[in-house]
Each structure stands twice: as structure tokens, then as C-alpha cells.
Symmetry: none
Subunit: 197 residues, 4 copies
DNA sequence: AATGAATGAGTATTCATTCAT
DNA sequence: GATGAATGAATACTCATTCAT
């Protein structure tokens, strides 16, 4: 049954996410993924070709989940500034979630240097993210809230850079309470880049 | 002789940097570090307590080297805009060097989630970097090239975020020629943040 | 299947005994234990946590085996003197077996100085051994073959000391034929201690 | 200078004894011996061929020291019973000394199974020990305190067995206060064997 | 005589992967 | 489909020994 198999895979991917967020890319074992999923070790190999395949699919599943969440948040708003605010809120969603995701995501980024597949999946994620901000900027320029001569591509890339860069800084920080501070810093820098007076 | 030992350690750290930039944090072996340094495996253990100690000292050595280079570049200029430009040039120094450093640096960042020591060394590096931009902003505000009401702390963090975020994007990019593009994007976003007309 | 696992462990313990009797505690490797058991190295780690765990269980298995053999031998006799003789015969069972066991046992005793676990297992073995002679002495005192005012505890300890001490002397001896001589010396000294005229 | 070299060797042997009593035969390193002797690692190799040679000479030095001490103690007494008492006192000299010596001695005994040299040195020590008790028994038989028909050889071996066996038992004991108890048990068993009314 | 830097052989341990049941 | 027993490659680390200084 296809449905069942899909559920099994999701169950394992969730377990892999959980395991990796605790142990890190290099320390996570198929055994611990199986343990988190409450299945036997053989099951993981039954649904995934090998360890790399499992983690590749985790990266894909994870980045899609994040992208879809951000997209839905932005689409729930109608004004450009509303969308921008919603985007930042969806990115800085909550300390625990951000920490968990970025720990895992950083691991994948560091692996991507040696791994073509991860690099491609991540590149697709980037394009999705750039698309979100491109749309926001375009709509803002149409309604005149953002300046006209802003380079959309450059700014989208910079905006994602700020998000990644700030969340990495926040992750390296001992002070988990700084989450709100980093969110506001991020939003303010977006306004500066878009020259919202 | 102390001098000799110091040279030996540097030789090994250079080799470790080389090895890690090729193989990544998890795949690098003490054997390959020894091979790169053209010494026997035992030598690495003679000068460093263990693998983690070796790589900790590599991170420290590396971030200090980068910081000192950036600082010297900035200090070689006298005007705020000259310093800003010099900073960006020193950060985006050359494709090969950036790729090598950021591959290794990303590995350490991803390990930092599980490793207090790495986190601390990196935090010190961050503070040094924030210090560089703080000084530039302060001098720019004094001479009136930058706006007065810019929050120095927030902006310094954002600027480092942009650097990290953009260089990670560039690293994930297949097109190595985009280095110049990312450098210019970085510089332009700095001007926007500092509200240079 | 539980039964199968138990057999596997016994197979490995027998192999460990064999390997240790030849190579000694410090020279025995998990590889050589695996070789003796005709399994792969990984199997040993599958059934035992680590090397120390393997050898701990070997000591326990071994001392229990010896104790049970001695107990059964003594119980097969009904008279005190018969039991005493049976005990000595079961202890000095055969040159090859004694040599094999005492070589291994001495290794464990020497490790026990640094190893709490070994010390505990050995202490339990001692208590079992003292129990055997205590019972023999008690029954001999009841029937009047042994003197009444013998201190059972002291004598039991001395008897075990004689066994250990003589078998160590025999083991250090080049002359393997002296086994019979040491057995008789042991038995005679027991009679002296129990004041059998 | 021969004198100086002899002192150096003794200094190293004392250090080796100290180190081995703490770390055990297998864990002791030439480095730790050198550390205890407060000399460099190279010095040990300068005065001894290799590790085994160092430890062989330690065993010889140690057993000779013990033997000479026991012999002197016995010779300081004139009556057979006095000598016997002195012997037991010299053997059970003090808890710390006994523990230190027997820990090291047991290590050597366990190695002797694989090491001809250790076996030979130990055999010589045994002969010396048997000689002490033989002399005591002979003198006791002459004066009539001990029974005439005691087999001197057998009894000497049994007496050493009791000493070794009891001190091993004591060493395995958690209760260091039992030293006195074991000494008395030893002495009483000697009286029983020698049939002193 | 003495030092300690350098070597490299040897080993416990981990874990992805396979496959018989 | 699912299990988990078995395999063995890979690697950090220790330490006796050598030897240039």
C-alpha cells in the first residue's frame, strides 16, 4: 500500500530530524534514528537506500516544510508591509523551533561542501526563499511603499543572507532570550534595505 | 627549544587547515593531517592532546589570522568609506581563499552546536568582527558620512550576518565567478544600511 | 531467540578462556577471542559491551564453573574424610586443566588490584569455596573424625590459601609431573590442620 | 663511575616499584617510571635494555630485598619458636608494605606464565623462602619443640603457600584492618603443621 | 650522560550495510 | 514487511623504542 509506505517514510524522517538535532550530522546513527522512530534498524534500510539517502530526503522534506510555512504566512497577508512582517515572523517562528532547525540546517550546509546532492537541494531552497522576497518587493514597489530602484535579485539575496547570518549568530549565542532582539534587528534591516522611511 | 615547537605546531595547524578544507570536519583523520604536514602520525599526538584539541587550536589560529588580516586592511585606510571598502575587500579577499576558509568555518559552526569550546572561540571572533565595523561606523558618524541615528550594535551584527550569509550562498553556488557579484552586493547593502546617500 | 544468544555468549566465553590461557590478560585481543570462537570481531562487541565486560563475565562464568564442579564432587561423597579427599581431587583435577585455569585466574587476581568488579566476583568465589570446607569441617566435627576445637572460619581460609599457594607454586614449576606431589602435600596438610591422627 | 650508575639504577628501580604498585604491570609506562624517578625517559633506556629488562631487574631487586629482610628477622632470634614468630612478623610486616609488595608481586606471578625470566627469578625466591623455613624446622626438631617426623620439604612448601594464599586473600579483602587477623591465622596454622601442642 | 622529538606498530571500538529468517 | 545477527572497514590513541643533539 502506497499510503502506508509514505507514512512510514515520514515517520522515519521525523525521527531522523529529531535525532540529528540532538546528535548532529556526524554522530547520528541509523540505530538512533530507528530508536526515535520506534522501529528496527532494518526498517530504515528498507525504505531508504542508505544513510546518505535518508539524510538527503530529510533535507528535502525539511526545507520544503520550512518554505511552505513561510509562503503560507506571507500569503495570509495582503499588504507589502504586512507580508514583510509576516515573513520575518514566520522565519523567527520560536526559539526552540529555530534552534532545532538551524542546528540541523547548519550541519547540512557544512556537508554540502563535500556533497553535490545537498548543495542542489539547498540551492532549490534558496531559490524558493528568494522568490518569496522577490514577490514582496515587487508588490511593494507597485504600491509605492518600497523604493523603485531597488535591485530585486540583490536585495533578495541580501535578505536571505541576513536571516541566515543572524540566526547563526543567535544560535552561537548563549542567551536564548535574544531571539526577539534578533527578530527586530532583522526586520529593521529589511526596512533599511527597502528604504521604507 | 620553544621556537621549534611553535613552528611545529604551526606546521601541523596549516596541514590541518589544508586537510579539513578538502575532507571536512568529520572525514578528516589525524593520519591525513600528518600526511599533509609530512610528519608521522605520532607527531600530531605529541604536540596536541587529541583530535579535538588539534581542531580547536586550528579554529582559534584561523579566526585570529582572518581577524588580524581584516583589521590591518581597515587600519591601512584613513577615511570611513575607505575603511568600509577595505573591510569588504579584505573579507571577499579571493575566491580560493574564501572558499577554503568558509568551508572549514562552516564545519566548525555546525560542530559548535555540540561543542562549547568551538562556540566560545567563535564568539570571540564575532566580537572582534563587530568591533571592526563598530569603529568604522563611529568614525563615519563623526565625519558625517554615515547617518547619526544608526544603532551601532544592531548594524554591526547585521553587517557580519550579511557577510556570513552571502559567502555561504556564494559557497553553495556552482558559479565561482559570482564572487565579484557577491562582493559588490555586500558593499551596496552596507551603504544602504549606513544610509550613504 | 534467547537460547541462541545464550549459546553464542558461552561460545565466546569459552573462546576467551582459551585465548587468555595462551596469551594472558594483557596480551589477549578481542580479535584473538573472535578468532578462537570462529566469529568476526564485531560479534564479540555485539554480545558484550566491551573488553572489560567480556572478561568480567569470563571470570564469573569460570569461577562458577569451578565452584560447581568442586561442590558436586564433595556432595557425591558421604563421609567427612571422603568429602575431604573428593575436594582435593576436584581441586587438583588434572595438570592441563589446573594449569589453564590458574594461569587465567592469576591474571584476574593481579588485575583485581585495579578493578573493583573483578575483586567482587573473586570475593564471591572465595565465599563459595570457604563454604565448601566449612561444611566438610562441620560434618567431620559432628562425627568426631576432626577435632572439636578447630576454628572453622580460620581453617577454611587457610585451606583455600594452601590450595591457591600450592597451585601457584606448581604453576611456577617447570616439572609438570609434580602435580601428584602437590596434591598429596595439600591433602596431608589438610589432615594436619584438622588434626586427623 | 660505577657507584653513580648503581645509584641511578636503584633510583629507577624504586621508581618502577612505586609506579607499578599504583598502575599495575600492564599500565605502567616507561614515562611514568621516569616521572617517578624524576629523570627523563631516555635515562631509563640508558640504564636498562628495554621495558622487560627494567621490570625483570625490579623483580629480582624486590624479591632479594624481601628475602634479606625476612632472613635478618629470623636470624635475630635464637629459639625455634622465636624464629617462627619473627618470620611471620617479617612477612606480615605492615598493611601498606604488604599491599604494595603483593600487588606488584601478583602482577609478576601472572606474567610469569608467559615469561621464562620472571619464572626463574621467582623460583629462586621460592628456594630462598623454603630455605628459611627449612632451617627453622630443622632447629625445632633438634630441640624437640617440633615433631620429628615432619617432612621438611613438604611443610616448607605448604608454609609458603599459606603465606601467599592468605596475603592474596587479604589483598582482595576490602577490610584493611583484617591484617592482624590474617597474621594470627597464619601463625596458628604453622603451629598446627609443626604439631606444637 | 642525558634529553625529548619522532616514529609507527598495535588495538579497542563504532557503525553502515547485508542478509537469513 | 520487518527483524536483528553478523560483518569488517575505518580510526583515534598509546607507548616502547630509536636517535640526533
Amino acid at each position: 500500500m502506497k499510503k502506508k509506505a509514505e507514512e512510514r517514510k515520514n515517520q522515519i524522517l521525523r525521527a531522523a530530524f529529531q535525532a540529528m538535532s540532538v546528535q548532529g550530522y556526524n554522530s547520528v546513527t541509523l540505530q538512533s534514528i530507528a530508536d526515535h522512530a520506534e522501529v528496527s534498524k532494518g526498517v530504515v534500510h528498507y525504505y531508504f537506500k542508505n544513510k546518505e539517502d535518508t539524510l538527503s530526503q530529510l533535507l528535502e522534506w525539511l526545507t520544503n516544510k520550512i518554505y511552505n510555512y513561510e509562503l503560507a504566512s506571507v500569503n495570509s497577508e495582503s499588504t507589502p508591509l504586512g507580508k514583510l512582517k509576516a515573513y520575518v515572523n514566520s522565519v523567527f517562528v520560536a526559539p526552540e523551533k529555530n534552534a532545532k532547525f538551524y542546528r540541523v540546517y547548519l550541519d547540512f550546509l557544512s556537508q554540502a561542501g563535500q556533497n553535490e546532492t545537498y548543495r542542489k537541494i539547498n540551492h532549490h531552497f534558496y531559490q524558493n526563499c528568494w522568490g518569496i522576497t522577490s514577490d514582496i518587493i515587487t508588490s511593494g514597489q507597485k504600491t509605492g511603499v518600497f523604493e523603485q530602484n531597488i535591485n530585486i535579485e540583490n536585495t533578495s539575496k541580501t535578505m536571505r543572507a541576513i536571516i541566515d547570518g543572524l540566526l547563526i549568530q543567535w544560535l552561537m549565542n548563549e542567551d536564548i532570550n535574544s531571539h526577539q532582539y534578533y527578530k527586530e534587528t532583522c526586520y529593521q534591516s529589511f526596512l533599511d534595505l527597502l528604504k521604507v522611511n
